[in-house]
């Protein structure tokens, strides 16, 4: 009798090994996808983060005879090094051959009011030496961006000068700068909040007594109040202009900067690491919390963050009930047949319609038709100035909700289909009606799936730009959709959006080269915002999943 020999298990000949090529293929697919994601994030992070890190200011000495791009600059270029790169168009020498060194450096000059240019390029071959600019100040101004210069004195309001060599110069500058900042905040409060409120009330009065030109006593009272506030603001403004910092640009031009226009200053070449870290975090903080300046190329992007957040939240509030209700009808109540089948196909196709088409629809239907009708009915006295009949955050949210509703419908339907038949029957056999079964058993069990749909919808909605340009996004919104004025949430207001901000900075700003760092920083922020929103939804889902563990998901 043959006794089978005891064999060692040969893993290379195992049946599972036959599928190996496909393991490699699928792993390669995933690796490629990951590589692209990591690469994209890497580019954005590596370009976005250094924007906030203080850079050194360099003095670049050129060889004699080389033409200096800086007007009146002599043989010196002073500024921050932006990048070193190989020339796109090679430079040829007299013999028509390429020079050996084709690298050039890009320098950020600042002082746009003096030079009229922001950047200078210099050939590596033309440079004799590069050194730090000693004692130079980096002045961030309200207008014209950054200035690099050597301060000579502070001129006080009574005309006395505090020379830069004086012992009290540094402390005085710091103190005056702080005072100027607090005055600036005061002016903004008066002009934006208080005068704004009076203006809107005056406007209401004017509208309500249409045709009647005799000023009402209330209007007179408001006008007096306005005059008082305006005088107050004018006085503060005069104080802002009275004190000035006198400095010399590196090219030797003497300039006067009123302290009211000085946002912050630093000595970039004398910073310790701790100072740099402090400045870095301060820069990030002001980027996140301040309003934009200088056609959005300077300052912060707080309104855009807030607008994106508010719009996405409003969209979620609109899309979830709408999508879930539609899915419940499709799944539970509609008689499954050709018609419902067609409806499903239509819903899925809706997800593939170009987003700009939704924008056009939103403009035509929500803004002009619905908004126009609301204006006719409730805001007739303001016409022809539209209230709801123009783009606004509410219409934008509804347009995006319409665009993302297929995602929610499909996710909800799938989640409901995955609820086991057994527990539905269990509920019905307990004497529950169909609606009670849906409400108490099916919907809670499908909540994690519904939230998955919401995550996808939010990710798509928050990053969308094209339709928003038609239904309410603007380059610069004068006020946020949420403020202290009754009724607090102003859904009809236009808003700013990070996605549009990127487009605007990168392609619409007067100097897109200067805006490039901001583009990366904004893109990074938009990604972070989407991640934050998604994370919130995912965490809720996990919590629910745990609660309904063993259920459908």
């Amino acid at each position: 009798m043959n006794v089978p020999e005891k064999r060692k298990y040969d893993f290379t000949k195992a049946p599972a090994a036959k599928g190996e090529p496909f393991v490699w293929l699928t792993a390669m697919g995933l690796a490629l996808g990951l590589l692209m994601v990591v690469g994209l994030l890497g580019v954005i992070v590596s370009n976005g983060i250094p924007v906030f890190w203080p850079k050194q200011v360099l003095e670049i000495k050129l060889k004699p005879g080389v033409q200096n791009p800086v007007p009146e600059g002599g043989d010196m270029i002073v500024g921050e090094l932006v990048q070193k790169r190989t020339k796109r168009i090679p430079v040829l020498n007299e013999q028509g051959q390429r020079n050996n060194d084709q690298t050039e450096i890009q320098v950020f000059l600042g002082n746009k009011d003096t030079y009229n240019i922001n950047f200078a390029f210099a050939n590596q071959a033309d440079i004799t030496s590069i050194s730090e600019a000693k004692n130079i100040y980096r002045l961030e101004r309200l207008e014209y961006g950054i200035a690099f210069g050597y301060p000579t004195a502070i001129r006080l309001s009574d005309g006395t000068l505090i020379e830069v060599n004086a012992a009290s110069f540094g402390s005085t500058l710091a103190r005056l700068c702080e005072e100027a900042a607090s005055r600036r905040a005061q002016i903004e409060k008066i002009e934006k909040t208080e005068i704004g409120r009076i203006n809107s009330r005056l406007n209401d009065l004017r509208v309500s007594q249409k045709g009647d030109s005799t000023p009402s006593p209330e209007a007179a009272k408001l006008d007096a109040e306005y005059q008082k506030l305006a005088a107050q603001a004018a006085k503060l403004r005069a104080e802002q202009g009275a004190i000035a910092l006198i400095y010399k640009t590196p090219t030797g031009v003497e300039r006067t900067l009123s302290l009211g226009d000085l946002v912050s200053y630093s000595k970039p070449n004398q910073l310790t690491l701790l100072d740099k870290v402090r400045l870095f975090s301060h820069n990030i903080w002001s980027f996140l919390t301040e309003n934009p300046r200088e056609a959005n190329t300077e300052g912060g992007i707080f309104p855009a963050i807030f607008g994106t957040f508010a719009m996405t939240l409003l969209m979620s509030l609109a899309v979830v009930p709408f999508g879930v209700v539609a899915a419940i009808y499709l799944r539970e109540y509609a008689k499954q047949g050709l018609f419902v089948h067609c409806v499903r196909i239509a819903v899925n196709n809706l997800a593939g319609v170009p987003s700009i088409v939704f924008g056009v629809f939103g403009l035509g239907f929500f803004v002009y038709f619905v908004g126009g009708s609301i204006d006719q009915l409730f805001f007739g006295k303001y016409l022809p100035t539209p209230t709801f009949g123009t783009g606004g955050v509410f219409w934008a949210a509804l347009t995006l909700a319409l665009m993302t509703v297929p995602v929610v419908i499909v996710a909800t339907e799938e989640a409901m289909a995955a609820v086991p038949r057994g527990i539905r029957e269990g509920s019905l056999s307990c004497g529950a009606s169909k609606w009670q079964t849906i409400q108490r058993i099916v919907l809670p069990a499908s909540l994690p799936g519904i939230l998955t749909g919401l995550v996808l919808a939010m990710a798509r909605g928050a990053g969308e730009v094209a339709p928003l340009m038609l239904v309410g996004v603007v380059k610069l919104a004068p006020s946020l959709p949420l403020d202290g004025d009754f009724p607090f949430a102003h859904l009809e207001r236009k808003f700013m959006h990070l996605g549009f901000h990127i487009y605007d900075l990168g392609f619409q700003s007067p100097d897109s080269e200067a805006a490039k760092p901001m583009v990366f920083a904004t893109a990074l922020l938009l990604i972070l915002l989407v991640i934050t929103l998604n994370l919130a939804a995912i965490l809720t889902r996990e919590k629910l999943r745990k609660k309904y563990a063993g259920g459908a998901f």
Binding site: I423, L428, S429
Partner: protein, 274 residues
């Protein structure tokens, strides 16, 4: 007032509580009942009387229609499209197909336990009070009382009384099935339908459920579908044998297993086919 308006549009299924100790022999009366899934006929002209407060077992090979008949007793089959029936099912003199009666009120009178235990993804407490909640009961004392009574009735109280608010999905398989029984009896139905309640349970849990059936039969009329001959002999008073959608034989359990009058029945219970 015109007669049409004076009549109620819909009403609850009448209560059938019997205070006398004797069970009515024709408590559930199935009368010439045929049932169709679309064009396919699943049940052929079935007539039988199921006695009150006894256990009636439905046996037969797979696909013989016993589950279909069981699911007709509380109209659970109506969830399926394209079904129809002829004949009638009458519970204590009231047709369950009376158009004036809401199906929900019928299901409140007829509890059901399924083959695969189906606790809701809620706490143990909420599972048991679910039938009361959907009926609109909100009084906490009544709910608490029901939980204790039902769980004791389902022989589960001692095992779970300290963790009533934990998820029902943390229970073992046998406990889950007993929880489903507790849920089915929570709203005091008169009839309890059990569709192979032990087929997914281990022998120990099966014994527990069978003992439970014996205890419950003093209060409920129980109809049980089973594939297990021993189970039918152990816990039922009457047995009905179905084959290919027809009722072949219906008699006392002892008679069916000891002395079947039909050849097919004998072949099936002795294991010669099926």
């Amino acid at each position: 007032m015109p007669a049409v308006l004076s009549e109620p549009v819909s009403s609850d299924f009448p209560t059938t509580v019997n205070t006398s100790t004797d069970g009515r022999p024709d408590f559930i009366s199935i009368q010439n009942f045929s049932f169709f899934y679309g064009a396919k006929q699943a049940l052929f002209d079935i007539s039988m009387d199921i006695p009150e407060r006894q256990v009636t077992a439905f046996i037969g090979p797979s696909g013989c229609g016993k589950s279909t008949l069981l699911r007709n007793l509380n109209r659970m089959n109506e969830l399926i499209d394209g079904i129809r029936h002829t004949g009638d099912i009458v519970i204590h003199g009231h047709s369950i197909y009376d158009p004036l009666i809401e199906v929900i009120s019928l299901r409140k009178r007829v509890g059901m336990v399924f083959q695969k235990s189906n606790p809701f993804p809620k706490s143990i407490y909420e599972n048991v009070v679910y039938p009361l909640r959907v009926a609109g009961q909100k009084t906490k004392t009544i709910l608490d009382e029901t939980v204790e009574r039902s769980l004791k009735g389902a022989a589960l109280w001692d095992e779970v009384k300290d963790r009533l608010h934990e998820s029902a999905l943390s229970l073992s398989g046998g406990q889950m099935q007993r929880l489903c029984i507790a849920r089915a009896i929570a709203n005091r139905p008169e009839i309890l339908l059990m569709d192979e309640p032990c087929s997914a349970l281990d022998p120990v849990a099966t014994v527990k459920v069978e003992e439970l059936i014996q205890e419950l039969k003093s209060q409920f009329t129980i109809v049980i579908v089973t594939h297990n001959m021993q189970q039918a002999t152990r816990c039922s008073d009457k047995t009905a044998f179905f084959y290919l959608g027809r009722l072949v034989e219906f008699a006392d359990t002892q008679k069916i297993f000891a002395n079947p009058s039909n050849k097919q029945t004998e072949d099936y219970i002795t294991g010669r086919f099926g």
